[in-house]
Amino acid sequence: MDQTDRDLLNEIQSEFPIAPRPYLELGKRLGLSEQEVIDRIKRLKEEGVIRRIGGNFHSSRLNFTSTLCAARVPEDKIYQFVKAVNRHPGVTHNYLRNHDYNVWFTFIARDMGVIENALEEIARETGVSDILNLPAEKMFKIKVDFEV
């Protein structure tokens, strides 16, 4: 990654143009042609630096609810448990973490009833019943763009 890549990454994280020719617009800001911008983004995607370019929404303002769940899963059940959890399209993030509560996932759905039902079903299917459901009471910060 060179400095131009870094400048481009900072620009497209927080100031992506909502305009008919966004890559041309970005090129003007960075002194590149439209095609150079497209080629650089294409390469940064191939290298795995950029996951996607798109919208991130406040789920609550779309009348969805979200929560953070943590489960205490025995080593030999992790694969089965993760499979049962990830099957739900509302599960967007799922990580193994170094704690007794070792599987942590986020769950977005129409309402909490849907999530509670899904958790019960997962518990029944996998025999893992120690699952914490920790919906947010208040958000103090969400800022996922990084100065690179």
Binding site: R52, G54, N56, N94, E137, K138
Partner: protein, 154 residues
């Protein structure tokens, strides 16, 4: 709230923007509307705060942030607001939420901390602990990613 045409816009921009000179025109065509209306609806969703952000999402590791920790804190209930705001000011903190404790699980503030190493995550957590005067916390490092995707709403 959002109408049916907004839902068509959301259904497309929750995915990945095409790497073509006029990417929004391509999406607008798929949504059955003009490029102008499509762009206007995106701007409107943003100004109404429904669209939190439009732009690139990076893979942190590849972008040089090789370590991240979820730091969970036990904060006295009456200090939640004050402490949440202190934590939110740290630039290394990307997420800061208050969540109710549950059963034997006492933690009530959750912060995502990003650094270049695990040691650096510990250092950041120590700094936060001192700044807020909160001593009871734990760092949970991600050891494996099982899923990371963006939500499909519509």
């Amino acid at each position: 709230m959002v109408d049916e045409r907004d839902k068509k816009v959301i259904g497309l921009i929750q995915g990945d923007l095409p790497l073509r000179p006029r990417p929004f025109a391509l999406m607008a065509e798929r949504a059955g509307m003009s490029e102008g209306e499509y762009l206007e609806r995106i701007r409107d969703l943003k100004s109404r705060g429904i669209l939190r952000r439009f732009g690139a999402t990076l893979r942190h590791q590849e972008a040089g942030f090789s370590s991240n920790a979820m730091v969970a804190w036990v904060v006295p209930e009456k200090r939640i607001d004050e402490v949440g705001k202190i934590f939110a000011r740290f630039r290394e903190v990307t997420h800061c939420y208050h969540r109710r404790p549950m059963g034997q699980w006492p933690y009530n503030i959750y912060t995502m901390v990003h650094g270049s190493s695990r040691d650096q995550c510990y250092e950041i957590a120590e700094k936060m602990s001192k700044a807020a005067g909160v001593k009871d916390f734990t760092l949970l490092f991600s050891e494996k990613e099982f899923k990371k995707t963006s939500m499909s709403y519509f």
